[in-house]
């Protein structure tokens, strides 16, 4: 059905109104002679509207005469009629042709070059290599030789292990895969020192000389693994005599870049207190505001009233101004004043509640000190309330973690 309609549209069709004694006869005869009729509907007592192809209009005249009907063309549709319409508007037709030609012409160039997959490499470097092989913005698309560009990029950039050049419309995508190159080893001599104080739990030395051992308490900055390896204290060979000519030069300490992991128990302390009676001021949630416009010192109230409806309140003022642009300075400001009602309150809580609250606060304070992504091994609370009655409850929270406390510190031997 769609094909049928499309062909009709291309060939052109007309909507005709058939009037007469028996329009059905007209329809039958037309159908019998192989004329396509569609969308036939009765539009009046003795009238039928239908659609028919343009090339069938001539035979229809004959049929109309034979069946004593008259027909009138109501609408003309389809490509042939559009062509006639377009012939009268030559500039429009020309514009359309120019537009399509320009679109086609411009689509034969590369407009965007994109580099994907580069992590260590700079996009610019890849683009530069591609440009040498004749791929850059504005180049004629047909002149790109993908193989040559790929070869050139690999030749110029040894870090690239594979490249692919894809042309997608006016966009060219250069995909690169990089080799992983082993990083340069750090050769400067260094110690590993403690970044924080704690108690050493385990020491794992890759290179260097361990200064601390398990169970030691270390302070911040203390050397844990030394980059200075003392000469090996040789045991005299059993039964043998120590040869004296073993050079003293070998007895010099060796200097290395110390490597290793020192894990220690670290404690974080937080403190919190809570009184059994608490007084203060807090917002009730009610507020009133008014907006005014300040124009050259004159204040014009836009909404609200400047009367303060509250007894206790806090004032917040926002000033909105159009930012200065060149020498223009708008002398207009919008001022919003907001009154927030405050209320005195007094809270009494039992000692248990106070301890709970203080503990919570202490724990929060301690948790703030914790480094990210660390597991708390153990935590406890200590009551450090002074003996005086009426004093607030004071709680100290301690959190214990186990973490790598080592930090490189360079030194020159």
């Amino acid at each position: 059905m769609f094909m049928f309609k499309l062909i009709s549209y291309l060939l052109g069709y007309v909507v005709i109104l058939v009037t007469g004694e028996a329009p059905e006869k007209f329809v039958n005869m037309a159908a019998g002679r192989g004329i396509f009729l569609w969308d036939v509907f009765r539009s009046g007592d003795r009238a039928i509207t239908m659609k028919v192809r343009l090339n069938a209009v001539k035979p229809l005249r004959h049929i109309a005469r034979r069946t004593r009907c008259r027909f009138r063309i109501c609408q003309r549709r389809g490509v042939p009629f559009h062509a006639v319409w377009l012939r009268r508007r030559k500039a429009l037709a020309l514009g359309a042709v120019i537009f399509l030609t320009a679109l086609y012409f411009l689509s034969t160039f590369v407009w965007f070059v994109e580099v994907r997959g580069n992590e260590q490499l700079d996009t610019f470097e890849v683009l530069e290599a591609a440009e040498e092989a004749g791929l850059y913005r504005g180049v004629f698309k047909r002149s790109i030789e993908a193989g040559r560009v790929e070869a050139k990029i690999q030749e110029k950039l040894p870090l690239v292990s594979w490249t692919g050049v894809y042309i997608q419309g006016t966009r060219v995508i250069i995909e690169v895969a990089e080799r992983t190159v082993p990083g340069e080893e750090e050769r400067r001599t260094s110690h590993i020192v403690a970044a924080k104080e704690g108690m050493v739990k385990e020491v794992l030395v890759f290179d260097g000389y361990p200064v601390v051992k398990e169970g030691d308490t270390v302070e911040q900055g203390q050397v844990l693994i030394s980059g200075e390896i003392p000469p090996y204290a040789e045991e005299p060979a059993p039964g043998g005599k120590r040869t004296d000519d073993e050079s003293e030069g070998d007895r010099q300490p060796r200097y290395v870049h110390a490597k290793g992991i020192v894990r220690a128990r670290v404690w974080y302390e937080g403190y919190g207190e809570a009184g059994t009676v608490e007084t203060g001021r807090r917002p009730t949630g009610r507020s009133a505001s008014w907006v005014s416009m300040d124009f050259e010192g004159k204040e014009i109230i836009l909404s609200g009233s400047p009367d303060i409806p509250f007894e206790n309140y806090k004032v917040e003022t926002f000033v909105k101004k159009i930012p200065d642009w060149r020498n223009l300075n708008m002398p207009v400001e919008i001022i919003t004043v907001k009154y927030i009602e405050m209320d005195d309150y007094r809270l009494e809580r039992s000692r248990e509640d106070a301890i709970k609250l203080a503990g919570e606060r202490a724990r929060e304070a301690a948790a703030k000190l914790l480094p990210e992504n660390i597991e708390v091994r153990e935590q406890w609370l200590e009551d450090v309330t002074s003996g005086n009655a009426g004093d607030p409850v004071r709680i100290r929270a301690v959190m214990e973690t186990i973490e790598d406390i080592g930090r490189d510190k360079f030194f020159t031997p």
């Binding site: 059905e24 039958n28 037309a30 009765r42 039928i48």
Partner: protein, 93 residues
């Protein structure tokens, strides 16, 4: 039994024996009804009457009457016909 009836009987038996569809052999109309919105009639002989409330179509022998509302002849070809609208009934007269 007239000669015409006899011929018809032979034709029917022949078509049943060879399993040839009736619309090919016997020149019967093939009617396809899609819900109550669309009706295709193949092998028709012309339209006898058409109004938005009813369509009468001549077929091999007799006629087919369709009644309904807002009926419209969607498509007319020499041997095929499509009626669209709200179809209420289909009758062989």
């Amino acid at each position: 039994m007239s000669w015409r009836d006899f011929k018809r009987k032979v034709q029917r038996q022949f078509s049943e024996y060879l399993e040839i569809p009736g619309d090919v052999m016997l020149d019967l109309p093939k009617i396809i009804l899609v819900g109550n919105i669309q009706l295709f009639i193949e092998n028709h002989r012309g339209i006898i009457e058409y109004t938005p409330e009813g369509v009468r179509v001549s077929v091999g022998e007799g006629e087919v009457a369709v009644t309904g509302q807002d009926l419209m002849l969607r498509n007319i070809l020499p041997d095929e016909l499509c009626v669209e609208g709200r179809i209420r009934s289909l009758k062989f007269l």
